[in-house]
């Protein structure tokens, strides 16, 4: 009896040690930090830190590696907020070499903490100039943009013989009572973008009243975008009971592309006057041991190969003016002409106070 | 006082005894003897209502208690290893049945003090059960049962595990105490000497079944 236990124990320990040693080897060969130099010859492996939504096509870096001899290891973890939080805490001694995915709502936090090593890409002139505003020091480089807008369920409004709401103001009308679901700006990046849209639209002292009216009109606030879009929204897979949702202008093409069985008309539409422009940036992390290689990677990320891959893998718009948009985007989506925007430093200055106020108005 | 009429007990499909009958007069002390496994303890548990009957009836006096739960039969029992309540003091152990009967506190304290004196444990009331010797624990168990004034008291190997002088003294004390109080007792033992010393009548359990 006792023997068998000893056997189980020793087997367990030996097995565990084997696995651990195996993994340690495995881990050191696939993951390399900025701090550790590579062991095998001159091949450099860059670590690209990104959020979980960074999902480019497999093999997208092969071309880069072939051209430069530099390998890229993508390390996605958490959402953009977690990413910036970690980058701020490790500023100067980063976990990787390049960081993908800080956006204009979070940028100033990173800039204040001096997270990035400024770099002006040799492809800088190819970037749409509207997205380079607000970063005069070239600490980061824009890589993609997206628009957070009210999406509506086309069938719902057709059946009711109603026009969908086209402006933010319309959302407080009793016609649309109990129809809107939004992700919380406290925990969701599109939620924050939508909140900022209302601040731009109604002013720093006007948004409070607007949200009070939204609340009176039955707005449903949920934790995250997925819950809002895939559970509560009636126009997507969840078939919830709210026909209005805060989402992206690229959501309708996504509905078409992922439909099973295939469809030819988008089931959802976008209210173009409600859009807030999000810009995502990439930056070289200060403290990297591979600065030259990291800069090459930034160049590559705004070059055409990578930029053309963006729309269909991540449902964002490329910043490269020569990039081509796939047909699904031009056909099912619209690009708002004058999206609402807000300077990163204004956002940084007021965010905490605004959100505290918002919490008291909407949640309590 | 106690009538056991044609009872049978089964464990699953195994019959421990059947057609067992016995009768005790008021104040009578009867010792049941018999080899291990003959069902002595089982019979006591059946009388107390701790063991369901396969058939038969049990009367306390004129009252048929067969279908009554243990706590309403008025039958006390001293267990082989005492089963004192370890989270309670000696006083609280002895006072347990009195509290259940909602006896007022002053009377309760008096009754317990008297009973502890009777069993030779005056002044032990604050002790924990952990601080008792084997003989003392047994005395507490007896006191705890007697203070409830049961119509019938069942003693299940009450002196096992005690030997020599302690056994003899406790046996004498118990015998005197039970006779003084006129308690009706069924006593189970494998020790014939102990049975002779304590009871009016000694019966081999195997002879009770027809």
């Amino acid at each position: 009896m006792r023997k068998t236990h000893i056997q189980i124990l020793s087997l367990g320990i030996v097995g565990a040690l084997l696995v651990m040693s195996g993994c340690a080897i495995d881990a050191s060969s696939t993951e390399t930090t900025a701090g550790s130099d590579t062991t095998e010859g001159e091949a450099v492996t860059l670590t690209l830190l990104a959020h979980e939504s960074f999902t480019p096509s497999p093999g997208i870096f092969d071309e880069f590696t072939a051209a430069t001899g530099v390998n890229v290891s993508v390390v996605p973890s958490g959402d953009a907020g977690e990413l910036v939080t970690k980058a701020v805490l490790t500023a100067g001694n980063p976990e990787g070499d390049v960081l993908w995915g800080v956006d204009n709502t979070l940028l100033s936090r990173a800039l204040e903490a001096n997270v990035f090593k400024p770099y002006k890409s040799k492809n800088f002139d190819l970037i749409d100039p509207t997205s380079t505003a607000g970063i005069p020091g070239n600490e980061v480089t824009p890589v993609d943009t997206g628009d957070v807008c009210i999406n509506y369920d086309i069938a719902f409004y057709a059946n009711q013989n109603l026009t969908p709401p086209l402006t933010l103001r319309a959302l407080t009308s009793s016609t649309y009572k109990d129809q809107l679901v939004v992700p919380s700006p406290l925990s969701s990046s599109p939620g924050l973008a939508f909140f900022l849209a209302t601040v731009v639209e109604f002013g720093e002292s006007g948004w409070q009243e607007y949200w009070q009216q939204l609340r009176d009109n039955g707005v449903l606030v949920v934790d995250g975008w997925t819950e809002a879009y895939s559970v509560e929204f009636s126009g997507s897979s969840g078939k919830g009971d709210r026909p209005l949702v805060v989402s992206y202008s690229s959501s309708p093409p996504a509905e078409v592309l992922f439909a099973n069985p295939p469809i030819t008309e988008a089931p959802t539409g976008v209210a173009s006057l409600t859009c807030f422009r999000q810009v995502e940036y990439v930056g070289v992390l200060r403290g990297t041991k591979h600065e030259a290689e990291a800069e090459m990677l930034v160049d590559y990320l705004i070059d055409l190969t990578f930029q053309n891959d963006l729309p269909l893998t991540q449902f964002v718009y490329p910043v490269n003016i020569n990039a081509t948009l796939p047909e699904a985007f031009t056909k099912y989506s619209l690009r708002p002409e004058n999206p609402l925007t807000l300077e990163p430093n204004v956002i940084a200055e007021h965010r905490t106070a605004w959100l505290d106020e918002w919490t008291q108005i909407v949640l309590r | 006082m106690l009538t056991v009429d044609d009872v049978a007990v089964e464990f699953g499909s195994k019959r421990i005894f059947d057609h067992l009958s016995m009768k005790l007069g008021s104040g009578e002390l009867v010792s049941l003897v018999g080899p291990s496994g003959s069902g002595k303890t089982t019979l006591l548990r059946a009388i107390a209502g701790l063991q369901p009957l396969a058939s038969g009836q049990i009367y306390v006096g004129e009252r048929n208690v067969t279908d009554l739960p243990t706590y309403r039969r008025g039958i006390g029992m001293v267990f082989q290893d005492n089963q004192l309540f370890s989270h309670l003091s000696v006083f609280e152990n002895v006072a347990y049945s009195l509290r259940i009967k909602h006896i007022p506190r002053e009377i309760r304290e008096q009754l317990v003090a008297d009973m502890l004196k009777v069993v030779g444990l005056a002044g032990f009331d604050k002790r924990t059960t952990m601080q008792l010797s084997g003989g003392e624990a047994k005395r507490v168990a007896v006191a705890r049962s007697l203070v409830a004034e049961p119509s019938v008291l069942l003693l299940d190997e009450p002196l096992s595990g005690l030997d020599g002088e302690l056994h003899a003294r406790l046996l004498l004390d118990l015998s005197v105490l039970l006779r003084q109080r006129g308690t009706t007792v069924v006593h189970v033992t494998h020790d014939l000497e102990e049975a002779r010393e304590l009871s009016d009548r000694i019966v081999d359990i195997r002879l009770l079944s027809q």
Binding site: E31, L89 | Y71
Partner: protein
């Protein structure tokens, strides 16, 4: 409250001399991986003015009040709801008992994302984002805590004690009140403290089921640190949480220290005899099984449902190790990663936990603080600790940030309190008389330990290893912050997939969740198969 037996602490252990040496490893581990990171983050972020500002903030008061009352309510409800199952599992032997015990334990180690998703699917819309949903989920999670901690004590209560009380005129209800409850009170307090701590620091369930309007301290800490970048506020709140929960834990350890399990561990479970007993036992078992299994079944059902009806597509994709369409990583890889982490966690937490439990049980006053130390991870804010680890182990050979070992270390911190709590009662209950007997036969201290203590400890240790492994499999909090996708575990992978729109992606998340449930169930069955006697959580 008096003790059923002389407390083993008062009996001086023959291994007293070894206790300080044993205490070194757990003390070092906690100091290195909990205290140092916390000191680091506090010293970097905290200031008196921030503490003062938050102390008078109405939002913080609301958050603190909500954390406390929902934790108290969850604890009370769990005790009541788990009571029938605890009774039946502790007092009776019946076919399927081991399965039922394993089944009720599964929720305890399931990741909150999975349970949250299951309840979202199971509960009617009107209960989404409600306090009711939170309480239901908290209860669901913690039934096992009551069944195991209270049940372990209960099954050692001899039924003869109840017999004795009934011959003294005690009715069943009265016996329950005057004998059973007092006997179980320490175990009930112990279970309550664990549940309170877990619910007070609840994060995932609150986020998924509570909606944005409800925040516990832990949720507020996360939102300040990560969403607002207010490190100072987050640090102040986690210091606050540490103090509150530290006090709660101090009370708990103090109130449970005096009493131990009976020296001879004797089970008194009986086969149900009368018809009434059978109805009670099978009725309660069946109800419990259904209630516990329903959310698990929902997970499985969701793995085979798409908008077009029942389909095994998601299973095919996962087992074909197919690219999910949203990311380049084969989903089954997370399975192997989780398995490796689980084994590593079992070893790390097992070794440290064994040393800690032995140091506490064998030691005297000098090693007592170890008991509080190893419980510290329970009271620590996971987010804050994660950030602390990040800025602590960041240079030279201590740069563990991208190292594989960081995740099992974090999991071990979470598992350590459970491991110690599983081993401690067993080591404490080894009767000194048995050791004395072996000493009279000429055994040296070391031989005495090998022949007596080791064999009695070994089984509890294997049990705690399996527990640590299961905890690692389901751990989500710490790993969500520390893992990188190259080393994503099953729970983080499930969370990632659940965060994506699309039927098929969601279904794949539920496939992985189903696998996780099976995986956890197997390791828990192994736990209870190895030991006929129960395990304390």
């Amino acid at each position: 409250m008096s003790n059923p037996l002389p407390s083993p602490i008062t009996v001086r252990s023959p291994y007293r001399a070894a206790a300080p040496a044993l205490a070194i490893l757990p003390t070092l581990a906690i100091a290195l991986f909990v205290l140092w990171p916390l000191v680091n983050i506090f010293s970097r972020a905290l200031s008196w003015s921030v503490i003062a500002r938050l102390a008078f903030n109405p939002t913080i008061r609301q958050v603190l009040w909500f954390s406390t009352w929902q934790a108290l309510a969850s604890t009370t409800i769990t005790l009541v709801v788990a009571f029938p199952a605890t009774y039946v599992l502790a007092r009776f032997r019946f076919p399927g008992k081991r399965m039922l015990l394993a089944l009720v334990t599964i929720p305890f180690v399931l990741p909150t994302v999975v349970v949250g998703a299951a309840f979202l699917a199971l509960l009617p819309n009107s209960l989404h984002r409600s306090i009711v949903a939170i309480l239901i989920a908290h209860t669901y999670f913690n039934i096992a805590v009551v069944v195991r901690i209270v049940g372990r004590r209960w099954e050692q209560v001899s039924p003869l004690i109840n017999d004795a009380a009934s011959t003294l005129g005690g009715s069943p209800l009265r016996i329950f009140r005057t004998l059973t409850l007092p006997t179980l009170s320490t175990a009930i307090r112990s279970a309550s403290a664990v549940i309170f701590l877990l619910c007070f620091t609840s994060y995932g369930i609150i986020r998924v089921l509570g909606g944005p309007a409800r925040a516990t301290l832990e949720v507020e800490i996360y939102s300040r640190a990560v969403q607002l970048g207010d490190f100072a506020g987050a640090a102040a709140l986690s210091l606050f949480q540490l103090v509150v929960l530290g006090l709660a834990m101090w009370w708990w350890i103090r109130s449970t220290r005096g009493s131990h399990d009976l020296a001879r561990i004797q089970m008194h479970a009986a086969v149900p005899q009368t018809l009434r007993q059978r109805i009670v036992v099978y009725g309660i078992s069946a109800t419990t099984a259904i209630v516990v299994a329903a959310p698990l079944a929902t997970v499985f059902i969701r793995s085979i449902s798409t908008s077009t009806g029942v389909s095994l597509d998601a299973w095919r994709l996962v087992f074909g190790n197919h690219v999910t369409g949203l990311g380049t990583r084969p989903p089954l890889a997370a399975f192997w990663t989780s398995l490796q982490y689980a084994i590593a966690t079992a070893v790390i937490a097992g070794v440290i936990g064994l040393a800690a439990a032995a140091a506490i049980a064998y030691g005297d006053r000098s090693t007592r603080p170890v008991e509080g130390l190893v419980m510290l991870p329970l009271a620590t804010s996971a987010v804050t600790l994660g950030l602390g680890l990040l800025i602590t182990f960041d240079s030279g050979i201590t740069d563990l940030r991208a190292r594989w070992i960081m995740v099992p270390i974090a999991h071990s911190l979470v598992a350590l309190p459970v491991v110690v709590r599983t081993m401690l009662p067993v080591i404490r209950s080894i009767p000194q008389s048995v050791r004395d007997a072996s000493a009279t036969l000429g055994a040296s201290k070391w031989q005495m330990w090998l022949t007596i203590d080791r064999s009695l400890i070994a089984r509890a240790w294997v049990t705690s290893l399996a527990f640590a492994g299961a905890i690692s499999l389901g751990e989500f909090g710490a790993s969500s912050f520390l893992t990188r996708r190259n080393s994503a575990t099953l729970p983080t992978e499930i969370a990632r997939l659940l965060g994506r729109p699309g039927d098929l992606v969601q279904a794949q998340a539920y496939v992985l969740a189903s696998l996780l449930i099976v995986f956890i169930a197997v390791s828990l069955l192994a736990v209870d198969g190895l030991r006929p006697d129960r395990v304390a959580v």
